[in-house]
């Protein structure tokens, strides 16, 4: 969904947000969950979307901005259809996380943090995913993939590219 100037939540979403707000002593507590919802609905948190969240929760835009910029999972720019997040912290580093990341950027022809020109893949490096027994760990659109190697990633990329055709 493209983000125009006049963005709004669906009626279902607004009802869901109403229920959510009642679970907390203060409305502001709903900010992180509502930002997650907004990111899911609009793909990323553009300025109009952040304004929408601010209006929905009766907050100043600045209160939303400081939260969006503080937490790494909130994105202010669009990313590829497949967001590949590679952990390279201690456990993964000791088990090939860096080499895996290098393989991915090389085979996709992009730098860490970039998106392929066809808009399909974004590769990022993330901090400890909390699944170190499965090192190296790659999150693909929020799903954990553990003990990942180059062959696994290559097969995944080939598969989703094939699905597109």
């Amino acid at each position: 969904m493209s983000v125009g100037e006049n963005v709004c939540f669906s009626l279902d979403r607004l009802q869901e947000i109403d229920v959510l707000i009642k679970k907390y002593p203060g409305k502001r507590s709903a900010l992180l969950p509502v930002l997650h919802m907004a990111q899911k609905d609009f793909g990323y948190l553009s300025m109009p979307v952040q304004q929408l969240v601010a209006d929905t929760l009766d907050l100043r835009l600045m209160a939303v901005r400081e939260v969006v910029t503080f937490y790494t999972m909130f994105r202010e720019k669009p990313c590829g259809t497949y967001l590949l997040e590679v952990c390279t912290n201690a456990g993964c580093m000791l088990n090939g996380g860096n080499e895996l990341l290098a393989h991915m950027t090389e085979s996709l022809g992009i730098q860490v943090g970039e998106t392929t020109p066809d808009g399909m893949f974004t590769v990022t490096e993330v901090e400890c995913a909390g699944a170190c027994a499965g090192a190296p760990v790659v999150q693909i659109n929020n799903a954990y993939h553990e003990k990942v190697d180059a062959a696994y990633i290559d097969a995944f990329i080939t598969k989703v590219k094939g699905d597109q055709l």
Binding site: P25, F70, T88, A90, G91, A131, C132
Partner: protein, 425 residues
């Protein structure tokens, strides 16, 4: 089944973990979930529960190891304000991955522990703060909570008692610092996770300035067994002052990385050799980080150290969250230290200058040391920066950032110098 004989106990938090579909309420109940809850709600009172938890010797499993019963006893009564219970499931300390398994395989154990803790503390609203990346776990716990509401295990007048409690899952959004309890509270209030000055401690002024208890997942998941079998039963497991079972998350250069729940006091060597299938290369570990990346390193000479809060302290480190990162002879400790320096610089919330500036310095200097652009003086810079950060900030992130640097300089100065020489030539 958990044995009532403390000597026979094989697991507490992981007792039901290998049973399939344990996430479903029916199956969990068939295997004993919530079986003892009616007795607690009917026959126990606050004083009795807090006493049992104190007697159990249970220490917080999130990292600090603070006695849980004592923490609960700090909560003032009759303040006219509500008391909140927050479960810290923001599992982010590099090397830690135990709470994830409790949540995804046995969420009802955590929920039961929270109902019991909430009952003891007079809580009406409780929250589980789960790190944002754990979307699957958020969904599993959320579904379990819905089932618990439908079975009157949560909500109004739980199981016909006078006790009512709501439980809500709250998803974080990717910030290591939110595992610090006051940062978690800030985050739960819809703000950036910047730790608060203490005192006041959360027990007095926490969530929305009301009395608040923040407990780790593993801590809360231990409560049902303590109340069923008694504080003395729990105190008889492990060793004095370090009682009970503990889950250790073992990662790095071991053949069978994973979570292992063992009695406190088991030695590092036994855990790594007998449970984790030994090292990937060689027979002697080069470095063991015993309690998550923020804890000082141990060497081969510490291989026989018992896994207890006290023994780890004596060995110069900390048990922390029980996240054991093992490195064998193939490990590049300089590259690892640089990687951890990057982590802390990325995760510093930025409100205290020693940490904001210090973590940046450590990362920049470590990067040039790793790349062979460093000089002898850099060792002094690293040492000075690290020692001037630790203990000078609101929270312990700066101490955590200093720990790997100081460990590297203390244990591997020759390796660092060699790297400087090698690249210079």
């Amino acid at each position: 089944m958990i044995s009532s004989d403390p000597k026979q106990v094989k697991a507490i938090c992981f007792d039901r973990i290998h049973i399939e579909n344990q996430t479903s309420l029916n199956i969990a109940r068939k295997n004993g979930a919530y079986a003892f809850l009616p007795t607690v709600l009917k026959d126990f009172d606050t004083e009795h529960i807090v006493d049992e938890v104190k007697k159990s010797g249970l220490r917080g499993r999130g990292g600090a190891g603070f006695p849980t019963g004592l923490k609960w006893s700090f909560v003032p009564r009759n303040t006219g304000k509500p008391t909140y219970l927050l479960c810290n499931a923001d599992e982010g300390e590099p090397g830690t991955f135990k709470d994830r398994d409790i949540m995804r395989f046995d969420p009802h154990l955590l929920i039961e522990g929270m109902i019991m803790a909430g009952f003891a503390l007079g809580v009406h609203d409780a929250y589980i703060y789960i790190r944002g990346e754990f979307l699957h776990e958020v969904e599993v716990v959320d579904a379990a909570i819905k089932e618990a509401y439908a079975a009157n295990l949560l909500g109004e007048n739980i199981l016909g008692s006078d006790f009512s409690m709501n439980l809500t899952v709250h998803r974080g959004a990717g910030a290591y610092i939110c595992g610090e309890e006051t940062a978690l509270i800030e985050s739960l209030e819809g703000r950036p996770g910047r730790p608060r000055f203490k005192p006041p401690f959360p027990a007095i002024e926490g969530f929305y300035r009301c009395p608040t208890v923040v407990n780790n997942v593993e801590t809360l998941a231990t409560i049902p067994a303590i109340l069923e079998f008694g504080g003395d039963w729990h105190a008889a497991i492990g060793v004095p002052n370090n009682t009970g079972m503990k889950i250790f998350s073992v990662s790095g250069h071991v053949n069978k990385p994973g979570n292992y729940e063992v009695p406190m006091g088991t030695s590092l060597k036994v855990l790594i050799e007998e449970y984790c299938g030994g090292l990937q290369h060689g027979t002697v570990p080069k470095v063991i980080i015993p309690g998550g990346s923020s804890t000082p390193w141990l060497l081969a000479e510490h291989y026989d150290t018992p896994l207890t809060y006290d023994a780890m302290m004596k060995a110069g480190s900390m048990l922390g969250s029980g996240a054991i990162i093992v490195m064998d002879e193939t490990a590049d400790v300089i590259a690892l230290t640089r990687r951890l320096a990057h982590f802390y610089a990325h995760e510093s919330c930025g409100q205290c200058s020693p940490c904001r500036e210090g973590t940046g310095w450590l990362e920049r200097v470590m990067t040039r040391v790793e790349n062979g652009q460093g000089c002898e003086e850099d060792l002094t810079v690293l040492h000075d920066a690290a020692t001037h950060m630790a203990g000078r900030t609101i929270c312990a992130l700066a101490d955590g950032a200093a720990a790997p640097i100081l460990s590297l300089l203390k244990h591997f100065p020759d390796e660092v110098r060699e790297r400087l020489m090698e690249k210079a030539a």
